[in-house]
Symmetry: C2
Subunit: 423 residues, 2 copies
Amino acid sequence: MSKQKKKVVIIGAGFGGLQVIKTLANQKEYEILVVDKKNHHLFQPLLYQVATAVLSPADIAIPTRSITTKYKNVKILFGDVSDINFQKKEIVFQNNTESYDYLIIATGAKTSYFGNAHWENKTLGLKNLRDALSIRRQILLSFEQAELIGDYEKSKSLMHYVIIGGGPTGVELAGSIAELSHNIIRKDFRNIDSGMTKVTLIEAGPRILNAFSESSSQFTKLKLESRGVEVLTNSPVLDITDSGVKLKDRFIESKTVIWAAGVEGSNLAKKLPLNKDKANKIIVDEYCRTLEYQDVFVIGDAANFSKGLTKPLPGVSPVAMQQGRYVGKFIQSQEKQKQMAPFQYFDKGNMATIGRTDAVAEFGIFKLKGILGWLGWLFVHLVYQVGFKNKVSTLLSWVWSYLTFRAGSRLIQEEVQDLSVRP
Amino acid sequence: MSKQKKKVVIIGAGFGGLQVIKTLANQKEYEILVVDKKNHHLFQPLLYQVATAVLSPADIAIPTRSITTKYKNVKILFGDVSDINFQKKEIVFQNNTESYDYLIIATGAKTSYFGNAHWENKTLGLKNLRDALSIRRQILLSFEQAELIGDYEKSKSLMHYVIIGGGPTGVELAGSIAELSHNIIRKDFRNIDSGMTKVTLIEAGPRILNAFSESSSQFTKLKLESRGVEVLTNSPVLDITDSGVKLKDRFIESKTVIWAAGVEGSNLAKKLPLNKDKANKIIVDEYCRTLEYQDVFVIGDAANFSKGLTKPLPGVSPVAMQQGRYVGKFIQSQEKQKQMAPFQYFDKGNMATIGRTDAVAEFGIFKLKGILGWLGWLFVHLVYQVGFKNKVSTLLSWVWSYLTFRAGSRLIQEEVQDLSVRP
């Protein structure tokens, strides 16, 4: 009895998509097509380290093709999916059409400006390698420009970095920029003292790291302050202009404003005629399926999974990965006419690094702070993340770069005439 | 008796400029200003490996600031020098003016199209990191496009790479592209066989590697051919169009044409009212000085040094480095009112790699071929080059990347919608 192969189409090879791939890899009943708009899988939790010149792109990204080389039933095509025809069960990308039996939307999220679209070109976001390299270039160039001007008073706004959003990304960026300017590159300049650089972290709510316990949050604030970061809470941003950031009681002059305050569903999600929440995340049922189509799944940051919960699952990689594995298994059960229990998230906790050898980590009732938190953070990032755990070369290269402050990461690839510091 | 410090201005921190810096570093009689248009010193001999996705930019480039951190008398400013006023002894860059007592022009060379300026946007050059990343992106994307088309006949011109110029760079690119497509990425695709990729190396003259002996040249041709590279000699290019390259007896359809056929003096050199040769290289005397000004030196690829020689010194890094050291010492002698002997180039020989474990190297009467040549090449590149020899971290990272075929180097940093294969 020959059986028709089922075609599983996955849009996006991030943490979620990759797990679907791995679950169904080399199983001859399935033909898998992955469509992505970038050629690499990105270890997003370390993106801030590329942005702050600690790591190089190649340290945190792997070409998706090289991950799936051994999976004979997996085909990858690069393209930006522009539409989905749910009736005909087809996706459309780059003038191509591909049909599916099962579709997994794993397109992630993009930076959200909460209705202030005009802030987009006044700030730098951090969602992909290109963003990270733009932040890096902006930071390094503003030091160069200050060195050229050679006068601290005249280059104050060049040497003041503002990060908006006190979540893990904001905290990590702030700590890392302070470390870069106050320590790593301090002896490199002759006209300016990069130790005088100001870093301000702005949070609209009453405390930073609000997904963490009060005590971790307080600890992080104190640690950041001792590292020379100014932490402003209860400070909603009123406006962002070419010269800086306007708060209720203050205007901060800055040429570099980084936006780490929020995300929303991808451009594709926005377009699709599906039930979505206010942030354009697609609402899914307890099996990670869309409410409309039982053969269409949404996982990771693209989804709003809140069935039976008081609030939606957070946009973190463990959620995406667990959902990816779940959906892979769900499809298998489906094919075997078996029933699957609803998806349940196993919360492994929260982590944020404040600087080298300093972090906060919470695993259920366990809370780690300082160097222990940092070691926990290191362990989880280096060892636990599936997809990288067998990549010894990437791992060693990462450790090496991280421990040696590899200067190569401070490269600006373009020449000066192609460059300008943002307005 | 207090003596006025002498101000030495160096334009360009390549192999030559760096040696001047090192020679005069931490000598309190000299105040050194380096002006460069990129923020890094580039190990140019390995640039082709970034272009062919073997290495990452951070493996072959070091921020110039991090090299000079310890040299207290060295200041670096980034900018594109737009003019020099030899009478007033001043250089002009980015609206700044800086005076000099001694000036060293070490601006290198740029790609030359021998009067066929319209070929520039039909081909890819290879002089800096940006060029290398463009070639890498173009090569990787053309495979992606072919995979998307899924038909070899229809994507023939995408899978045919043409390299014009049979010098070391052309040979290295051809060998490396053949290795990439025929071996490294071959199992990554499902619709196409990247092993069917064609690579053609075109040389106008009677043999490739014409600076080498006949036997090395012949050996290289045979080795390249055995690695699947088509080598065409006596084949001057008549025209380059959007669809490919026109030769006397043949038109090669190709979407990727790489130009490695020649260089000329920098844009700055072009502008200066100095004695120059046809390729805009500044003619210098036996002390590496311009013919016009005794306090202005030109070294490396920017210079034409042919005093007492049958032909000008070649544009290779040892020439630049030796001239850099010489000029540093010359300035010191000058200050001590001592006479220096004219510059003499100590020729260490020629090397070109054909592929992993295969190279030709000639040191005087010694000729190494194959694996021995490759080991010689490896030794010289890894150990001998001053400026990198103490950089253990760069070294290890390089060896590691090279030996493990680190996949991270196959990154395309942009997203698909930002990309298109060149015409």
